[in-house]
Subunit: 506 residues, 2 copies
């Protein structure tokens, strides 16, 4: 039982975390400020760093340190920082070492090539040209599943192994169950809103919004909810994202559409929600294996809550209406908080996931989840995938898919080899609603606070109950700690959506 | 004679260069976009990377590869890429390994602590509080000199060893010689311009210049001289600098003073000059030991040429006058190209190096060079330094130093342990003028081109004769290759300054 070995392990992982952090800066820069012609060399440099990190992360020396410090870590108690850090190090070491270096390189290469092929295929609406790359990615997924099987001795469903990369410990059967509940409950709501399609209530959001003014507006709103210049940076990118360089160095990005109000406004709130999670992690997790949010669903629960449960709520618009009218007096002239609330809450079936509203968003995810499982089982092949895609869009959302570019080719994930990722978006929505029920019960004054532009109690609750822990607890343990349950539940989101649809489309 | 070993050496250095490049991104971000509270962790991460790079750069394996590939490198010829890359790898390995790791860490720590102490001392005009840190840095310099002596078997002057870090192969005696020539030749010029001090010819440059308009102006001018958005990025910082992420990813920064036209305008041209050097290096040097400009003096020759020999020339202002008047119609109302040319070429003795004009700038450097040598020999000590500083400013520039903050504490270099660096600024000015004599002789139409806003021939000449080579040749070999001499010469700059002073102050 050696504290010395544990300390050596800790120092070893600190170096790994630092190197990954430096790589993170280079990755962020690549997506924000790098001139286009810097891409080739940047790719080489990041590949070099990645291979050095991978070598360090799979070195026998690390495995030996993990083994030698297990007793000490366990002796500190299962709730201890030491044990949590050890557990996460051990888990990631096992996942890294199960894949041979050559296969890791092959996966990375296939992902890069798939990405390039996908961009061209989407642009030219040419699914056939993308097919061999997708096929290659699926074959590699099968190999990863086989290699990973020893780490999942009692696995019920091979798809669990894929999910585990994004949502550690999540079971496919649990996902399928909540998705089925959601589908049944949301169907009448979708039918109701579909009947009001194109009624023009969102006309105000499609006026002209000069970029510089949007920029000033989203900065003002971000600062009101908790952004500050000492710890945050906001810049523009084609594909908005959040990246934490460290707990007190949070980067968020947004994009501006001069003819549509929503993307920068709600996108900024969304990325702020991700950033707030990272920014409120306890300082003791800095430079450790536990210094980031615990999973994709947990992360998405935070971003979607800020975007939708806060940003698309009526109390929020009681505060925000004069603010947006100050920046855009003509565009929102004469509109009440209720008017803008209605304008930014238009719902209805659509083709494109990233443009979907709160209600129909999960359907886009459920379709992808079902297709991923079918691809893995062989029930659907790369040849029949577009047909299966289009059939599901017709079945669930009643829409006809006019082209593969607006259909099966719309998302980047499969091109890079990410299977199992999509589910976490919908799980995040559901988790967000579960948490929201608890938040609003414990903080009954929240609506009045939002109406007054006060978001401090919400931030404090999230920090205290969720954010501070980083990855100390596993996703499922954190769920139990916060809500006293180990099962995700679709009902809170359905209740929320039912009330909202009845209010807005009643 | 093993090509295999050479290839292994090449791959090894590629990894080193990649890691340094990744560190460069993190360093650039630290100075440009990082929120203040990110500093502590960023410092830790960079220290981790630095120690990994240092370990790799001093590993016996590298020394063995260097030894094993020498014959092959030499067999390719002294002019070959292979030999140049080998030579530079060998040189840097020897310099890195001569300093024990613990001492490298001590130097780094003393530099960081000195920097912090210097910032406070300058702010509070409290030289005494900085003295022990400066003393420590000087002691470490002496130790480095002793440890490095085996690498300089025939050294004439210990100061050569310090110079070598910034200007490989430069001799102190050669620097002293050109500085003496400069002092003698420039003295009557300084006396002449001093008689016109405060005659108000630069009044137009001290009006109000809104930052956004300055930003638009400097981008327009930068694009005209060669900046493009595919390969360059321009952002703002407190202390402007240039950094090349790679040959086709060049970052320059500038700062804006809303009450003074010159800093952003000429600062941008200066940093563009540095960036152009890096951007025009031949692609085959990318990711090698030869992929940057060869020395500080060579770099400064390029930046000062763009800033002064181009940017402060009358032909340039024939093109630029309507451009600045478009952006600032009121501030430059009614002024001819000659008027603006005179306004941006005011000269006269002053206290602060970074604000000095073309003529007096070198004196600021000569003072520091002479004081560094005196500090190294013990003729001046940290106790007598301020007094010696003030005496030299009185002797050379006729100015009284009112406080140490505007005197001996004005520059950052010594606080971080950099001794030998300053000279390269003046050497760059002299080299720039030497090169300019050749450029203008070979391109007789240059003045007409500048007046028409055309800078392509200049860029092509610089690329062909200097930039393309990166660090292929040593600084002295490059001088010989370009100008057929191995000695720096102060006379071309003196001739240029004499003509300019006579024209403007005649």
């Amino acid at each position: 039982m050696s504290k010395e070995k544990f300390d050596a392990l800790f120092a070893y992982t600190q170096t790994l975390v630092d190197l990954q952090g430096i790589g993170g800066v280079a990755g962020w820069d690549m997506q924000t400020h790098m001139p286009p012609k810097g891409a080739a060399v940047r790719g080489e440099r990041l590949a070099t760093l990645t291979s050095i990190v991978h070598e360090m992360a799979t070195r026998k020396e690390l495995g030996d340190l993990i083994a030698a410090s297990e007793d000490y870590a366990r002796s500190q108690g299962e709730e201890s920082f030491e044990f949590a850090n050890w557990r996460e190090t051990d888990r990631q070491y096992k996942k890294a070492t199960v894949i041979p270096t050559e296969m890791a390189a092959e996966i990375s290469r296939a992902g890069s090539q798939g990405h390039v092929a996908w961009m061209a295929a989407r642009k030219n609406n040419d699914y056939a040209s993308f097919k061999p790359f997708l096929q290659k990615n699926i074959e590699l997924v099968h190999k990863v599943v086989e290699l990973s099987r020893p780490l999942f001795p009692n696995v019920e469903d091979d798809y669990d192994i894929l999910l585990d990369d994004y949502e550690h410990g999540m079971k496919t059967s649990d996902v399928a169950e909540v998705f089925d509940v959601f589908k049944a409950g949301a169907k009448p709501l979708v039918e109701k809103v579909a009947a009001h399609a194109g009624d023009g209530r969102d006309a105000a959001t499609f006026k002209h919004f000069p970029q510089a003014t949007q920029d000033a507006l989203v900065r003002e709103v971000a600062k009101q909810v908790g952004f500050n210049d000492d710890e945050w940076d906001l810049t523009t990118t084609a594909h908005p994202f959040e990246h934490s360089m460290s707990i007190h160095d949070i980067r968020i990005t947004t994009k501006f559409d001069e003819n549509f109000f929503n993307p920068s406004f709600f996108g900024t709130l969304h990325e702020f929600g991700h950033g707030l999670y990272e920014n409120q992690i306890d300082d003791r997790y800095e430079r450790t294996m536990l210094g980031h949010g615990v999973s994709l669903a947990w992360h998405e629960s935070q971003s979607r809550s800020l975007e939708n449960l806060v940003g698309r709520s009526l109390p929020f618009w009681k505060w925000a209406t004069p603010v947006v009218q100050k920046h855009f007096p003509e565009q929102f002239a004469g509109m009440s908080a209720e008017d803008i609330y209605r304008a930014v809450n238009v719902m209805g079936p659509s083709l494109i996931r990233i443009e979907a509203d709160e209600l129909t968003y999960n359907y886009h995810i459920i379709i992808r989840f079902e297709l991923e499982r079918a691809l893995l089982s062989g029930e659907v092949t790369v040849d029949t995938l577009p047909e299966a895609w289009n059939a599901k869009y017709k079945e669930y959302l009643g829409v006809d898919v006019p082209s593969d570019s607006d259909g099966v080719l719309q998302d980047v994930h499969w091109s890079g080899g990410s299977f199992g990722y999509f589910s976490t978006y919908a799980l995040g929505n559901m988790l967000g609603a579960m948490l929201w029920k608890r938040v609003t019960a414990e903080l009954p004054g929240l609506e009045d606070e939002f109406a007054a532009g006060e978001f401090g109690s919400l931030r404090a609750w999230l920090r205290e109950n969720i954010h501070q822990y980083g990855s100390h607890y596993t996703p499922n343990d954190l769920l139990f700690k916060v809500l006293g349950t180990r099962k995700l539940d679709a009902q809170p989101q359905l209740d929320y959506l039912t009330a909202k649809v009845n209010e807005l489309y009643g």
